[in-house]
Symmetry: C2
Subunit: 344 residues, 2 copies
Amino acid sequence: MASNERRLLILAEGRSADPHYGKTARGVIRYRPEDIVAILDTERADGDTQDGFPVVRSVEEAQQYGPTIALVGVATQGGRFPPKWRDLLKDSIRAGLDLENGLHEFVSDDAELVELAREHGVELRDLRKAPPGLNVPTGANLTHGATVLLTVGSDCAIGKMTVSLELDREARSRGIKSEFVPTGQTGMAIAGWGISVDAVVSDFIAGAAERLVVEGVGRGGELLLVEGQGSILHPFYSGVTLGLIHGSAPHGYVLCHKAGQLFVEDDERFPIPPLGELADLHARMSLLARPATVRAIALNTRELDEAAARRAVEETEADTGLPTDDPVRFGAGKLVDAIEPLLG
Amino acid sequence: MASNERRLLILAEGRSADPHYGKTARGVIRYRPEDIVAILDTERADGDTQDGFPVVRSVEEAQQYGPTIALVGVATQGGRFPPKWRDLLKDSIRAGLDLENGLHEFVSDDAELVELAREHGVELRDLRKAPPGLNVPTGANLTHGATVLLTVGSDCAIGKMTVSLELDREARSRGIKSEFVPTGQTGMAIAGWGISVDAVVSDFIAGAAERLVVEGVGRGGELLLVEGQGSILHPFYSGVTLGLIHGSAPHGYVLCHKAGQLFVEDDERFPIPPLGELADLHARMSLLARPATVRAIALNTRELDEAAARRAVEETEADTGLPTDDPVRFGAGKLVDAIEPLLG
């Protein structure tokens, strides 16, 4: 049962039983289960459960669990809303639920849904839409007093969000006032706030990142675990990465890498430099007003067996001289040990 | 007189006699005088000229010179169009001129102007507006066959566009098939094409940069002189800079610096590293598939007397071991000598 106002009905139409049924749904289930009240999928049988949550076949049936928000938790075919989905969205609005949507198709640009939302007094939140009023940084990123730790990486989609969330969980368990700071739509669905920085006009990436850390402080964070994006050497997304580095102005980095990966996007034209070099490059590219170094390496060993995973961790540690671990597999303790001294 | 279809009437209302009357107007006058037919300013006297061009007091009076495009050449108060300006824009449209506008206020979002433009069959081009259909790079930035040279720098607003234009002029005078590739609204107004990369959604900066170099090749360029933006260590705009680096995939850089400047944005929190280090950092941050180094340094000596300027050039050369010159003051010959070997 949800422990607060954020009581999520996850819309997982047709895909709730698929083990890969959406990064968003899986992320919320793993990191914010206390926010979930039910999962909706009209194709499941009466009385089904999923990951311990009741599965309902209609918004009406979900009402017994008292949801406040309907979250689009799986991708639709092609990212568009088919008629079946539109009906679910309209049912949710009519039931008084706010909508949260991480797809590229915006609910807040849909005249019919906007009108219905106005009638029923609910909010339509498109997680990939840039908020209004962004600008360049004000300098507040250098004066807020909290400690900022950014995950960076050798590539996209290797687990930077997950590492930030695991560090946050471990830090909280140690009594540290930690806040996960979301910078992409999945992280936002998990935490219930944030900005999808890759959707921001490029002049304002750093300003958006600054706004996020300031909000993290406002939420009580003394340690801000900022979700990284892309890689400074990524041929497509490096601009987002560097803007996020300079705008969030971290005191330190955790460098994420998938064990054994040699090329960015597995494309032989883009060889990943040795991790020690990549760590050094992050130090040199840090904001001139906020020197920072890589404090630890988070190794994604998902594709290795346990013995090979332990070997990969040891070898990376020996090669780089940096504390290394796979926080998903072996726990985030060693990595939090490495960043705790930053808290002073 | 204009030598081609691009026959510009520069709208410089109320400011044509001001020596600082707008970066756009000055840039076009210096680098594309052959495109200008007249300058419009209702406040000037009958028969006035400016920089050798006739000054007219109305669009009607300009018609004798056969303009095809009205270019907003000076900033209006606060970046908005006052009533007087709206009348000039409407007169231009009614006279069958396309409009080019580099201000933040878009003419193509103005219902009245859009309707009028439709009636008169003219185009409204907002230079700061991102074009539709952008995406991530396709890889064409690595296979087009031309040589790409990007200007980079220790700060914004120190003359990267000007250096690219001076290099282009010198290269053309040597018979090299050179193209200036504009990445901001002033460069676009000068060259008549381009994308203002800082207005692009941040996921697509590199894709926009790739599109620009591909278009430069399409225009016949064998040497592409890409206008740089920002600085990789700039606290606000570094994301744009790095996306431009990785998307344009240069074969070499010219590093621009203002002689004597110690801090980014003259802000003591952001000390500029020694130029040799900054040059090395650009080499290390280059696209993994396209290694590149700084080939020369363009020193902006505007604020020095001639003897001090020559000393600054010599000292920079001695400190960095890189060919150095102020191409505006002393000509671009030495810098083009330094980049010509890239042409193979």
